[in-house]
């Protein structure tokens, strides 16, 4: 029972922690792409990687100001979105899917390669770049606080506060955008691209704008993640994370402003809860070591996400809050 309570407490921390912010921002970006515009971006993690490394490289390799690093990260995300969109947005949806996943994997391979080590730190990555951000905290960052039964350092609370503010701001932006004329056009593109074209709208340009906007949100997510962990390592940006964000989005409900936010909080809660509980059960010998060892638990979360993604898509594609009619589920 104590284990169960403990698992709840730890999962509660995950519910509010920087990882939930990370996935929320990724999922908000994917929501703009997939939920509202109908673009299949499977390389969202690449935007996050550029955001995180934008700061990390600028600060710890080039010695630039932290905020300049933020700008560099955002600009590189915009450039990536343009490069990705240019060849693929005129083609059918699955081409963008293949190109984005290939780009995300390719970029990670480049960042972790030996020849990139002088810039990106190779497989070891970079660290010690978030100092000037943590120093901005209006309170003492070293002392630890008890919140809901788990321990948070002042720095963690500061990152969480800034992160959730960012999530709130981006959600507000998405909400406003989607009830603007721009949002109506974008949603119309999702429903029937040809009809929108017949009305004289430049579908290509609208898709590109949506891709860039969602990419910027992804980059912001990567920044929060890099600041939260205090390090930027290429292998943290595995493309499985993109699909975790997809799972979060679909769980919460695509094409809903708060769908991705609540989805990622819930997803991280479930994953962390399962993780802690499984570890506790293995330690207590409830699950025999031969069946599942504690090193396997890290993989279980992806298995769970895989199953969850499949079941959601088949039985409840609109997730918890979504509207079935609004969930775009057909190829063009």
């Amino acid at each position: 029972m104590a284990d169960l309570l403990n698992a709840f407490a730890i999962a509660g921390k995950a519910f509010f922690g920087f990882q939930a912010i990370f996935f929320a921002l990724l999922a908000i970006g994917i929501n703009v792409h997939f939920g509202y515009t109908g673009l299949l971006n499977f390389g969202q993690i690449a935007f996050a990687m550029l955001g995180g490394f934008g700061i990390a490289i600028s600060v710890s390799q080039w010695g630039l100001n932290f905020w300049l690093g933020v700008v560099i990260g955002l600009v590189s995300a915009v450039v990536l979105a343009l490069l990705l969109g240019l060849p693929t947005l005129r083609l059918r949806a699955d081409y963008l899917a293949i190109v984005t996943i290939a780009t995300a994997e390719g970029l990670r391979l480049v960042f972790r390669s030996v020849s990139a080590t002088p810039v990106t730190g190779g497989t070891r990555g970079l660290s010690a770049f978030n100092g000037s951000f943590i120093d901005l905290a209006p309170w003492e960052t070293q002392t630890r606080h008890r919140v809901l039964g788990t321990s948070w350092s002042g720095g963690e609370l500061w990152v969480a506060l800034v992160g959730w503010s960012l999530v709130a701001l981006t959600s507000l932006l998405v909400w406003q955008l989607m009830r603007s004329p721009w949002g109506r056009v974008v949603k119309a593109i999702r429903e029937d691209e040809d009809a929108v074209r017949a009305l004289g709208k430049n579908v290509y340009a609208y898709k590109m704008q949506a891709l860039v906007l969602g990419g910027i949100f992804g980059a912001l997510g990567g920044m929060i993640y890099a600041i939260g962990t205090g390090s930027a390592i290429p292998d943290q940006y595995q493309n499985a994370n993109t699909f975790l964000a997809y799972a979060a989005l679909i769980l919460g409900g695509a094409a809903r402003v708060l769908g991705p936010v609540l989805g990622s909080m819930l997803l991280l809660f479930i994953l962390q809860f399962a993780d802690t509980l499984l570890r506790a059960l293995i330690e207590n010998g409830v699950i025999p070591e031969g069946l599942l060892s504690s090193t396997d638990v890290a993989q279980i979360r992806f298995v769970l996400v895989g199953i969850g993604l499949m079941l959601l898509l088949v039985f409840r594609p609109q997730g918890i809050f979504g509207d079935r009619r609004e969930v775009m589920l057909d190829a063009r």
Partner: protein, 457 residues
């Protein structure tokens, strides 16, 4: 850890990442030697390979004993180098230990603890033609707590440079052909599945991995020679493909699930299978039990191991057989008909669901074969299929999504391109070259080489 330049070129550094696990325990080796009765030299190599594979699987044998330095002395020309003395000293110059490499060229030195060490080899004991690289005979290494630190001496035998008769471009071309044909064997199924059902199957890489791993279990754990093991695995792979179709995709088609939803479902399936495989099989890379310790045969301008040659021949035979089947047999014609126009095919009396089932089974069996070939040249790993998947997509897109021959042509081009690109870009970035090629194709000719305009929408 030292490995042949030629092996390093084959599929990147990951294949060699697990090699430095050190010598297997004695008892295991003699037990294996007693079981398999073959010629002594072959036997020794084979047994060592198997035992090494087992050693990496048994926790505590190689890693948990404390800090050590491990590595292998071998080049593609000379094969493993035996009997070279390796000396380890602490940073202060105190001798720690000296060992000789065994018949596989391996060495392992146990260390008193983490810290700085200097390791050197006896240069005079190297065989004719093998020389030290530019970095010399001594390495300074830092060993972390509890770590088996691999050491690479970077031996050169002239096979990768300008000397020695091989031309690097030709060598890469041949390697690329082998790799491209391998991709084609895996990708034909992917392309046919797309053609007949419209599904972009992101879980196809897992068919490759599952096949390779089933063959590995039958071969290494079951002691069955690799060729029959592969055939058994192909039958199982066909069954896995059929299970995919009957268990997931046919019911989904009946429910009227859209293509995008099906695509995301296939991603979910891919995640589920990939990490389930990692839990069952582990994060190691392991070689097959047979054909591992082959020397490269010199063909004048390039060198190639016999297993690489066999891989090329097998791929070509299988691909020609698939092409003949598509052209000549009834089911092959039906496949092309369904891929071309499903409704028309159905109305002319073709049982579409049966054709799709056969396509899935064929795809599963071919993916298994491709996986085994990849496992032979690389090693068997839990995510080998997923890493290949992106190159398969590149090949299939290049050739034209949905066309069987397009997948073939495109894959070969991608394979050659990926290998040849190492002439210009570093080895660990070569997959990036293939992915760049994919993007360039989409800009210039999105329908692919053999695709028709109508498909791209």
């Amino acid at each position: 850890m030292t490995h042949a330049p030629h092996r390093a070129r084959e599929h990147g550094a990951r294949s060699s990442a697990e090699q430095g696990q050190g010598a297997p325990p004695r008892g295991l080796r003699t037990w294996r030697a007693w079981r398999t009765g073959r010629r002594p030299l072959v036997l020794a190599l084979l047994v060592a390979a198997i035992a090494m594979a087992l050693a990496t699987l048994v926790p505590g044998v190689a890693s948990a004993e404390g800090e050590r330095l491990v590595g292998t002395l071998q080049t593609s020309r000379s094969g493993p180098i035996e009997g070279v003395e390796i000396t380890v000293e602490t940073a202060d110059g105190d001798a720690v230990d000296s060992v000789e490499t065994d018949e596989d060229g391996r060495f392992a030195v146990d260390l008193p603890g983490p810290g700085q060490y200097s390791i050197s080899l006896d240069e005079d004991a190297l065989p004719e033609g093998v020389e030290l690289g530019t970095a010399g005979a001594t390495r300074e290494v830092t060993v972390d707590l509890g770590r088996s630190q691999p050491v690479n001496f970077g031996l050169v035998d002239g096979s990768s440079g300008a000397g020695g008769g091989t031309v690097r471009a030709v060598q890469l071309l041949v390697d690329g052909l082998r790799f491209g044909l391998l991709i084609a064997v895996c990708a034909v199924g992917l392309s046919l599945i797309f053609g007949t059902t419209g599904l972009t199957n992101f879980a196809h890489g897992e068919l490759v991995t599952i096949g390779a791993i089933i063959a590995w279990y039958i071969n290494v754990r079951g002691g069955v020679p690799l060729i029959p093991a592969t055939i058994i695995a192909m039958v199982v792979g066909a069954a896995v493909g059929a299970l995919n179709e009957r268990g997931i995709w046919r019911p989904l088609r009946k429910r009227g699930t859209g293509l995008i939803a099906a695509l995301v479902v296939s991603i979910g399936l891919s995640l589920l299978l990939r990490y389930a495989i990692q839990i069952v099989y582990g994060g190691f890379s392991n070689p097959y039990g047979d054909y591992q310790s082959q020397r490269a045969v010199n063909y004048g301008v390039f060198t190639m191991t016999n297993r690489a040659l066999a891989s090329i021949v097998i791929s070509i035979v299988v691909l020609v057989a698939v092409a003949l089947m598509l052209q000549r047999t009834k089911i092959g014609k039906a496949m092309r008909a369904v891929a071309d126009n499903r409704d028309l095919a159905a109305s002319s009396g073709i049982d579409v669901n049966r054709v799709i089932l056969v396509v899935w089974m064929m795809g599963g069996a071919l993916a298994t074969l491709g996986g085994v070939l990849l496992g032979l040249s690389d090693q068997v790993q839990w995510d080998m299929g997923f890493r290949l998947l992106l190159l398969m997509f590149a090949g299939v897109t290049l050739g034209g999504l949905g066309t069987a021959y397009g997948a073939l042509v495109g894959s070969v081009i991608v394979g050659v391109f990926v290998q040849m690109s190492t002439l210009v870009i570093p080895d660990d970035m070569k997959y990036v070259g293939g992915l760049l090629l994919l993007i360039v194709i989409l800009v210039i000719r999105p329908q692919g080489i053999l695709g028709s305009r109508a498909r791209i929408g």
